[in-house]
Every structure is written in structure tokens, then in C-alpha cells.
């Protein structure tokens, strides 16, 4: 093998190694598949008793002022006749859509999806308060925070609890384990297993928003015509 050929091969090898190292560091810097998460929440309406422990915990942990709320349990009923009456409880909070209308319409990019976690977040500083996201959200869960004057909503307690390695406040406060939180990309997670095996549904799927708030609908029903 002549000298120049060997030199070329060595050089090419070094270049390849360098490039792959560069690629690797770049990948870990941005969104490496290993550290990426897709957080989701499941609300089992059959387990929910409508006690409002979650809404109170949310208000307390996230310092949500009175008059606005990040999380509400909407009660419908009573269904049936005394003494056998039931209620339905539906969770109303940010659905953390994969294809979020609020993110699409935000003129400044203050509403954005965190590529690391899949959580829809609000950059309070960037928000100018045009209300476009509030109008665009088909789930009507966004509001103007009276103190920051910026749009606000559920962030799965990203700031207040996830960052400390704790579960969202609503999940830990639920006495009946009606809420299951986890990573959809982790096939071992409870939420992944339940979404795979249970008849889950999501709100307004026809809009193409791909929400990440899953629901197991109440088994007892009532047709209201």
C-alpha cells in the first residue's frame, strides 16, 4: 500500500470518527431519543368521586388565584332515581395536544411545546396577552393569570413538582387513584399500559389535536334526549 493511500484512509477514518462524535454530542445537546419524554395523563371517570381534592391541590401547589383555575372537575347529573343516583365527573384541564391550536396561533411563540417532555408551556415574558390562544383552544382551558397578565394553564406541575421528581399535585392528592401520570414513550409506565389495554378516549379527536389527556369514560350512563 503506498503512502498516500494510507494517509488518505487514516484521514478519512479520523474524519468519520470526528463526525460521528460531533453528531453524538449534537444529538445529546438537542433531543436525544434517550432523554425525550412524552408525558400523558389518564383520568378514570369510574374511580373519580368528585371530591375536588385535585382542584384544591392544584390551586395550592401552583398558586392559582381565585376566579381562575387550571383544573376543574365538571359534574353532570344526577342520573337515575332516588336512592340510586349517580354523577359523571369529567376532568377539564390542558390536554397537552401533540398538535396544539394554541401553539399554532400564538404570534410570538409564547405558547410552545417543550420538545423534551411534550408539555405545552407558556413563556410568560413573551406573552403579550392577545387572547388568540384562549380563543383557539377547543378545550377552553386557558385563561389570563390575574397577576402575570399572561396566558396560563396546567403544565402537569412541570415547574412546581416534576422538576423535583414528584408527580403532579392532582395525581398525588387523588384518594381513589383515578389519575395516572406517566411517559407514553416508556412502555413500562402505568399510563402506557392502561392506554394500551383499556378503552380510553380523548376529547374532540376529530379536530386532529391529538390530546394527551386520556379518559376512561364512566360505565354508568344515561341517555338525555
Amino acid at each position: 500500500m503506498d503512502k498516500s493511500k494510507r494517509f488518505f484512509l487514516k484521514g478519512a477514518g479520523a474524519l468519520l470518527a470526528g463526525m460521528s462524535a460531533y453528531q453524538a454530542t449534537r444529538a445529546s445537546e438537542h433531543s436525544s431519543p434517550a432523554s425525550q419524554r412524552k408525558y400523558a395523563l389518564l383520568h378514570d371517570e369510574n374511580r373519580c368521586i368528585g371530591c375536588d381534592a385535585c382542584t384544591q391541590a392544584c390551586r395550592e401547589v401552583n398558586q392559582v388565584p381565585e376566579g381562575v383555575s387550571r383544573l376543574e372537575i365538571v359534574r353532570t347529573g344526577p342520573h337515575g332515581e332516588y336512592p340510586n343516583q349517580t354523577y359523571h365527573f369529567e376532568r377539564q384541564s390542558c390536554q397537552h395536544c401533540e398538535n396544539a391550536p394554541c401553539v399554532n396561533v400564538c404570534p410570538t411563540g409564547a405558547a410552545y411545546k417543550d420538545p423534551q417532555t411534550g408539555i405545552i408551556k407558556v413563556d410568560e415574558w413573551k406573552c403579550v396577552g392577545c387572547l388568540y390562544c384562549i380563543a383557539a383552544c377547543p378545550y377552553k382551558v386557558r385563561f389570563i393569570h390575574p397577576v402575570t397578565r399572561a396566558a396560563d394553564k396546567c403544565d402537569f406541575c412541570e415547574q412546581t413538582r416534576l422538576s423535583k421528581g414528584e408527580l403532579p399535585a392532582c395525581v398525588t392528592s387523588c384518594p381513589t387513584q383515578a389519575l395516572v401520570f406517566g411517559d407514553l414513550l416508556d412502555t413500562q409506565s402505568g399510563v402506557y399500559q392502561l392506554v394500551r389495554t383499556q378503552p380510553v378516549s380523548r376529547d374532540k379527536e376529530s379536530l386532529g389535536t391529538s390530546p394527551k389527556l386520556f379518559k376512561i369514560r364512566a360505565a354508568k350512563g344515561e341517555v338525555i334526549l
Binding site: 368521586i49 368528585g50 371530591c51 381534592a53 384544591q56 332516588y82 336512592p83 384518594p175 387513584q177
Partner: protein
């Protein structure tokens, strides 16, 4: 949410009474305490709550049932504690309190209906029913006393 409707219910129930303001002071002297039951039940029988108001003309037997053989022989007296079936305990209450009206004031009445006795949450004998002054947080905590499931 839970406090106001109860208060409204109680106040509206008694709004026609001219004496409601001084009812606790006069409770010891109210008609109900002239009942023969009080001869024995001096200590555990005093009725200081709204139900003791003379103008309501509620007597011990209205809720607890007739004396029959009590105390020596068997009787059908209703004791408002966990030993008595809920349905038996609820029956005298709904003689006056319309379940539907209770349900509109506080939705949890509807789901517990005759499956949980009223006395699990309410107390009539003390001056004030503890439910009247319950806070939002107390209320959620009370739900959890029964509704608690372990992670499986």
C-alpha cells in the same frame, strides 16, 4: 360550596321561627327536655341543636322510635351509630327532609342517599351541626375517610 347551602337550608327551614336567635340558651328549657326520656338520658340526651327548638315540636321518639321494652327488654329504638343499618337511620330524617331538596342543595346527598347514614356526617344534638362550618379542604378530606383506594 358545602357550607352555604346547608346554612341556607337550615335558616330557610327556621325562618318562620321568632326565637331562633336565642335557641341555644333556651335549649335546656325547651319542650323536648320535658320528655320522660330525659329522666335517664340527662347527660347524653340533651338536645342543643336546632331540632330541639320547641316550635318544631320534635320529640325524642320522632327520630329514635317508640320506647317499647326499653331499657329492660328488646326494642326497635334507632341508635344513630355505625351498628345500625344506614337505611334505618335515614328513614326518620327523610320524613321531614325531602331527598330531592337535599340533593339540589348538596349533590353528595344524592349519591349517598340511603346507603350512608346522615349521622356519618351530621350531628343534631350539639349546638351546631359540624357540617355547617365545614371548609372546602375539610370536605375533600371527609370524602377520603371512606373513599380511599390503595395503588394496586
Amino acid at each position: 360550596m358545602s357550607r352555604l347551602p346547608l346554612l341556607v337550608a337550615l335558616v330557610s327551614l327556621l325562618s318562620w321561627l321568632p326565637v331562633q336567635a336565642k335557641e341555644s340558651s333556651s335549649a335546656a328549657m325547651s319542650e323536648i327536655h320535658k320528655s320522660p326520656c330525659m329522666k335517664c338520658h340527662k347527660r347524653n340526651g340533651t338536645m342543643q341543636g336546632i331540632h330541639g327548638n320547641s316550635d318544631l315540636t320534635v320529640s325524642c321518639v320522632d327520630c329514635h322510635g317508640e320506647k317499647q321494652g326499653h331499657p329492660r327488654k328488646a326494642s326497635d329504638l334507632v341508635v344513630f351509630n355505625a351498628a345500625t343499618p344506614a337505611e334505618t337511620q335515614v328513614k326518620p330524617c327523610i320524613e321531614c327532609h325531602d331527598p330531592q331538596a337535599l340533593g339540589t342543595l348538596e349533590w353528595t346527598h344524592n349519591v349517598h342517599s340511603n346507603k350512608v347514614s346522615c349521622s356519618q356526617c351530621h350531628q343534631l344534638h350539639p349546638t351546631e351541626d359540624p357540617m355547617v362550618s365545614v371548609t372546602q379542604a375539610d370536605r375533600a378530606a371527609m370524602c377520603q375517610q371512606c373513599h380511599q383506594s390503595k395503588q394496586d
